[in-house]
Amino acid sequence: MTSLIALLILILAMAVGIPIPLSFFLCAAFICTIGGFNPLMLFSYGFNNQNSILLLTIPLFVLAGAIIDKGGIGEKLVQGLMKLCKGSKAALGTVTIISSAMFGAVSGSATATLSCIGSIMTPRLKEQGYKPGLIGAMLASSGVLGIMIPPSILMILYAWGTGTSVLACFLATIIPGVILITLFSIVNAYFVKKDPDMVNFQPLKKEIKESGERKQRSAVPAVMMPILLLGSIYGGVLTATEGAAFSVIYSLIIGIFYYHRIDSISFKAALVQAGETSGVIMVMLFSVGILSRMFMTENLPDLILNFLTSLSSNRAIILIMINLFMLVIGMLMDDCSGTVLSAPLLLPVVMALGMTPIQFAAVLSVNIGMGNVTPPCAPLLYLGGRVAGADVKEMLKPTFSLILFAWIPTLILTTFVPDLSLLLPRLMGYV
């Protein structure tokens, strides 16, 4: 009962627009007061819970994302792909989607992926006659590829919250990510084909003009980055956290000395911006961690499992309901909070149904990723709109098509075909 009222308070507080960390705190404080606990426990738990090197990976990946964005690496990745772009109308959209995935291999966050690839691709897409609404929706969904292709902040949080191997979780989301890439491309092709207004279409004949010297610079150091990063993590040279620090330093070095894009001013700006973003995420984690702890005291995982099994004894139906539950969480809150809150709550439940923690990592990624482009709380969708210069209204139709024809099929596949998420971890010997 306490948990239900607490959830209601949480939703109301968020609906009024109270900052999400304060809403979480309010909810936790409510359970704490009702339960008669000493409120000192909230801060003691929050402080100790966050005292982990693994979590430092998050600000480092955010920082690396900001530097990669300013350092010209994203642009080089895109240019490499554009050369392969043949003259069909849909090709540039596909390039956007695949660039996001490639960018995802150096960046751990969806927002960084979206803002970097979005700012590079939007003018080109518009030049070819893509509608802002489609661009925004496509960017938002593709941004999630930033967390489906390793490294991934979400998987770090998942591993942190559930004690699962980070590297195995990284591998689990790759195949679902590839399915998403394919389905996004198909939906994109359909929209482009159906759009009668794409009269301005002209195959890209010339590479977008660039000032002389910079154009000479090869894309190799940029393309080397994901190889070096993932290679050193999986090759036993660096831990995931050290990998994040390595990305910062690598992108800084080639941004300064090779692409000549970063100076002390833009470096400071990137650091401050990343510091602020990390602050937002970490304070949220602080309070969502406390809330999650309070839900544990209330035995919420047991309550959820009992409730679900009382509704049906069919495993498939229970799994679908768990997905719906996560979807609601994803609709209400951002990806990081959604992960930290639902991972420890739902993992015991799905494990009781015979799902492994590694598969659940992939299911959760797809689900929370989808929640991120699903209104009302859809930070990625709004960011996509801002980058593409589109209204939320214009983006709704392509967004819902993407959800219906790309996200939901992928989610169902990931939930019911364990091999999709377990194949790669098994091949690499992580399961």
Binding site: F47, Y234, G236, L238, T239, T241, T297, Y430
Partner: protein
């Protein structure tokens, strides 16, 4: 607030308990947190403790167990026992408030199971000292629970495994505590203090070759897929603390306090044979899953112990104070 519970609680508590009789005592609901998996012998023992307590107190003390770090890691659970928001815990100790609390983790404190009953007995210097420190923090120490001797799990074969100080040819992960780090360096390991959460994948990717600081059961349950060898160095007896929040404890009837203390201390005494049995079971399981278990002879272990006590303990004096170390050694030479 929390301050009150640490200082004045005992006086208040005794007054109130004396006035209450068995009949009008309102039953209490407690939360107990541990850090052990659901199917471990430790969690099983905790469940038995809880049942015995309920029976012995005629249902006046009901305890719900939250296993497997559900309420947070030992650092925060320790704090919460201090505040009383968690009434009972079975955890590793948080040494932030006093380094001597790590006394049960002194390397080669014991060299075999037969010594443990003396070393960890409620009459020992070690127990009394730690009891006093925790008491000042608002916590009642009920007993030390043995979980098995820590060894070193590796995926490579060590060179000169039994020779103290000889290069072992392995980089192993150790907890960032002097007790563990110095002991393994003394034996001849190269150590790294990467986070525990990175340990499994690090052994897998080859970043590290193994890890120290866990008994056979942890090596089997969490690491068997990445290990090829388990070296039974028996460096440290994994002795966790069973703790009760003082405020909560002192609200109980004196006879219930007494029966709880007896139940837990009996269980802690049992834990020595339970741990030995569990260790044997998991060594067999390790062998069965393809991990070679390397045992050392009594005389080899005595060599390790002598070297570590002679060369590592002096370095630990900074942390533990010389007085503490001397008294611990004296008490078990008796």
């Amino acid at each position: 607030g929390g301050k009150k519970s640490t200082s004045n609680a005992s006086a208040d508590g005794e007054k109130s308990t004396n006035l209450t009789s068995t009949d009008d005592f309102i039953p209490v609901e407690w939360r107990m947190a541990n850090q052990h998996p659901n199917d471990s012998f430790v969690t099983l023992a905790d469940k038995e403790i809880i049942d015995s307590i309920k029976e012995a107190t005629d249902g006046r003390v009901n305890i719900t167990l939250y296993p497997d770090n559900q309420l947070g890691d030992y650092m925060s659970v320790f704090d919460e026992i201090m505040f009383g928001s968690v009434e009972m815990g079975h955890i590793s100790v948080n040494s932030a408030y006093d380094s001597r609390l790590l006394g049960t983790f002194l390397p080669y404190l014991a060299t075999g199971y037969d010594q443990l009953a003396t070393i960890y007995s409620p009459d020992s210097y070690l127990f009394k000292t730690i009891h006093e420190i925790e008491s000042k923090l608002g916590i009642e120490l009920m007993g030390f629970f043995c979980e098995g001797f820590d060894g070193v799990g590796t995926d490579v074969e060590l060179t000169d495994a039994a020779v103290v100080g000889a290069e072992k040819g392995a980089l192993i992960r150790v907890p960032a505590m002097d007790t563990f780090a110095e002991c393994n360096i003394e034996l001849g390991f190269r150590t790294t203090t990467i986070p525990y959460s990175d340990t499994y994948t690090s052994i897998q990717t080859g970043l590290a070759d193994g890890w120290a600081g866990g008994p056979a059961n942890l090596n089997y349950q969490y690491f068997r897929d990445v290990l090829n060898h388990f070296y039974d160095y028996q460096q440290v007896q994994e002795a966790t603390h069973i703790l009760i929040s003082k405020t909560a404890f002192e609200k109980l009837l004196p006879e219930d306090q007494e029966s709880i203390r007896t139940i837990i201390q009996d269980k802690c005494l049992d834990s020595i044979s339970l741990a030995q049995e569990d260790e044997g079971k998991y060594k067999t399981l390790l062998e069965e899953s393809g991990v070679t278990v390397v045992e050392f002879s009594d005389s080899e272990r005595a060599t390790f112990a002598d070297a570590v006590r002679a060369n590592v303990w002096p370095k630990l004096a900074q942390t533990f104070t010389q007085e503490f170390l001397d008294n611990v050694l004296a008490s078990f030479n008796e």
